[in-house]
């Protein structure tokens, strides 16, 4: 897989620590929603999930600024029109429609591949997004409109009148145990390792026969 060059077109800050980058899409660059591109800069390479639909004319990634990180501070300051080297696409975390209902479970920026799924027409699904605070909740209007059931799960107490959305106060695993009806599902998990481990064990116990597809975000 050979490297290619992409040009930064736009940066959109969603919070103090999370932002989207829109890059030019090279001719003939094809990918499947849920796949990642690898950005290389001064011998540092990092993978980022694309949140754009595979039909979109540009490539969009969503990332969290890691202050002491080697690449995100550079990308946070990169001038428009700058070129970076990239490779890919990578990964097999893709949505496959089946006869089973789909349950998407994300924590933090692990929502990225699910945004790509939704933008590419994945329907219907139950979608849970676990975050620490309301500020970390992004794409909620778009996801709410697409999902059969959309549940933001807040691990910290919900501030009074903090959101127009119904918010579940607790972890995604607790919500699944308490509220997801007994059935056989396709679970798609993306986010922190602890969540993936906990939900996978929960699936084995409470939803036998279900499929589990997972991708860990570090």
């Amino acid at each position: 897989m050979s490297d290619f060059t992409i040009t930064l077109l736009e940066r959109n800050w969603l919070s103090k620590t999370t932002f989207e980058l829109t890059f030019s899409r090279p001719l003939n660059f094809e990918y499947v929603p849920g796949q990642r591109i690898r950005i290389l800069h001064q011998n540092v390479a990092r993978d980022y999930s694309l949140i754009s639909s595979h039909h979109d004319p540009e490539l969009v990634v969503y990332l969290r600024l890691i202050e002491k990180g080697l690449l995100t501070p550079v990308l946070a300051d990169l001038a428009y029109g700058s070129s970076v080297t990239a490779s890919g696409p990578f990964g097999y975390f893709n949505y496959h429609s089946s006869g089973r209902p789909a349950v998407f479970v994300a924590t933090g920026t692990g929502i990225a591949p699910f945004v790509a799924f939704v933008r590419s027409g994945a329907r219907p699904m139950i979608l849970l997004h676990g975050v620490r605070s309301l500020e970390a909740l992004h794409y909620q209007d778009e996801l709410f409109a697409a999902a059969e059931t959309y549940v933001p799960c807040l691990s910290s107490p919900v501030p009074p009148a903090g959101s127009d959305l119904d918010v579940y106060e607790g972890r995604v695993a607790t919500y699944l145990t308490e509220h997801l009806p007994q059935a056989v599902y396709d679970f798609y998990l993306c986010g922190r390792r602890d969540m993936i481990r906990e939900v996978t064990h929960l699936v084995d116990r409470h939803f036998p026969g279900s499929n589990v597809f997972s991708e860990m975000f570090y």
């Binding site: 396709d186 390792r193 481990r197 996978t200 499929n211």
Partner: protein
């Protein structure tokens, strides 16, 4: 980057096609044996001297292909994710070409030979015998799949590749012996032991 997830701590694992299965499931055993085969080939590749770097590259190519084999074994027939995997047909064809090329440089064989000779060749024989075990494992899987009416098409191409790979490893062992200047040891029936009166 931490490599552990802990999702298999209770003895179950996810297939590539998403199903949660026991770690003693036939498919898991099969791709576990492929992993063993791949590790043996890694040891072999590491031992092959630079004078035979062409053979080392071939072995490393096989190592890459075994990842594809593992992915197929971890994918149940008819699973949507199978459409993302590459067919093994081209890899099988490549192996056939390599067998023909190596064999053309070897003396014709009229007898059984003992696995062994140069240590590199001995490792190739170890790999060959493990490869045959994987074949038997996949064959059992195919029989189970037929019994469960699961179309076993995915496994057929795996079986063909493994069969060809076993043959390749046999020829490779002979080629490695030849490269090291060591003659194959032909099997012969041992003379009966002398009886003491």
């Amino acid at each position: 980057m931490k490599i552990y997830t802990g999702t298999g701590d209770h003895g179950r694992t996810s297939l590539f096609s998403g199903e949660r299965v026991s770690k003693s499931h036939g498919r898991v055993q099969a791709y576990g044996d492929v992993d063993e085969l791949n590790s043996i080939l890694g040891a072999l590749a590491a031992a092959i001297p630079s004078q035979a770097s062409g053979l080392r590259s071939q072995v490393q190519q096989v190592q890459s292909e075994l990842f594809q084999v593992g992915a197929w074994l971890a994918t149940t027939s008819g699973a949507p994710v199978a459409s993302r995997l590459d067919s093994l047909a081209a890899a099988t064809e490549r192996l056939e070409g390599a067998i023909d090329q190596l064999q053309a440089r070897l003396d014709p064989l009229h007898d059984f030979i003992l696995p062994g000779g140069h240590p590199d060749a001995a490792w190739a024989h170890v790999a060959r015998s493990v490869c045959r075990r994987v074949e038997r494992c996949v064959n059992s899987l195919m029989q189970d799949a037929s019994a469960n009416e699961d179309p076993p098409n995915n496994l057929q191409q795996v079986l063909v590749y493994l069969n060809r790979l076993s043959d390749y490893l046999f020829v490779l062992a002979r080629a490695l012996n030849k490269a090291a200047g060591i003659a194959d040891v032909v099997w012969s029936k041992l003379p009966p032991a002398k009886r003491e009166k």
